[in-house]
Symmetry: C2
Subunit: 154 residues, 2 copies
Amino acid sequence: MDKFMALAVAEALRGAKKHHGGPFGAVVVRKGKVVAKAHNRVVVTNDPTAHAEVLAIRAAAKKLKNFDLRDCVLYASCEPCPMCLAAIHWARIKKVYFGSCSLDAKKIGFDDELFYEILNGKKKSPVKMVRVGAGKEYLVPLKFWAHDMKAKKY
Amino acid sequence: MDKFMALAVAEALRGAKKHHGGPFGAVVVRKGKVVAKAHNRVVVTNDPTAHAEVLAIRAAAKKLKNFDLRDCVLYASCEPCPMCLAAIHWARIKKVYFGSCSLDAKKIGFDDELFYEILNGKKKSPVKMVRVGAGKEYLVPLKFWAHDMKAKKY
């Protein structure tokens, strides 16, 4: 197994053994060096967003003082869920290596695959989305940003 | 405007004026009371995952000491992006109210709509996903979790 992937899998097992959360690990690598590694901490931190990939991205971005990680690669012990995949897109990471897949995660009770099916329209979401209005007042923050020359665009 | 939605929009504008990040705000409400509110902090924290909804969910879960927020409702000044929508699913939130939409965000340069199109298969992703293997060694953490009676399942 590739050394970075082995590290992601070891991190996954370490987190599971510590009962920190689901059995998932991730490593962010830049120019052949580990920038950050993390395992799922949903249970121990009571944070539903504390997936391995999100935590590794957050740690790497903090370390590099840059929310743009386009020169980094992510290794994930298991296929990233839709939340993590979207986070990878926001971080502008261009390549992701993964080992087990969302169907493997499904077999042990995780909803990654279901959420993929919801996001691509194959399954109905349990979340009711209600657009309350499209009035001008909702556009005020967006217009402020668009005209603010000091805003750092991303 | 509904008072919670007004709060989300005010939070969005406040964050933009402080140059903390994109012009987005979110509020988590439980039984008619605000549990947490947040605005986007991507720029000020160098965290690509620091969207308003993610931060509000994290803060609410921390406050309630529970990663399961199924008795909460989310108000977002703008339609949640795919990362935030998946986070909402993981948090088991059942209802989301929002004001402006991902097309409004697109108009001022944000990729929410693009990422939705990527996730539902309409557009090609800039992220190359490489499955490096499906061997037994990748399943070790998952199998440990599945057989661990002490693991808190979620």
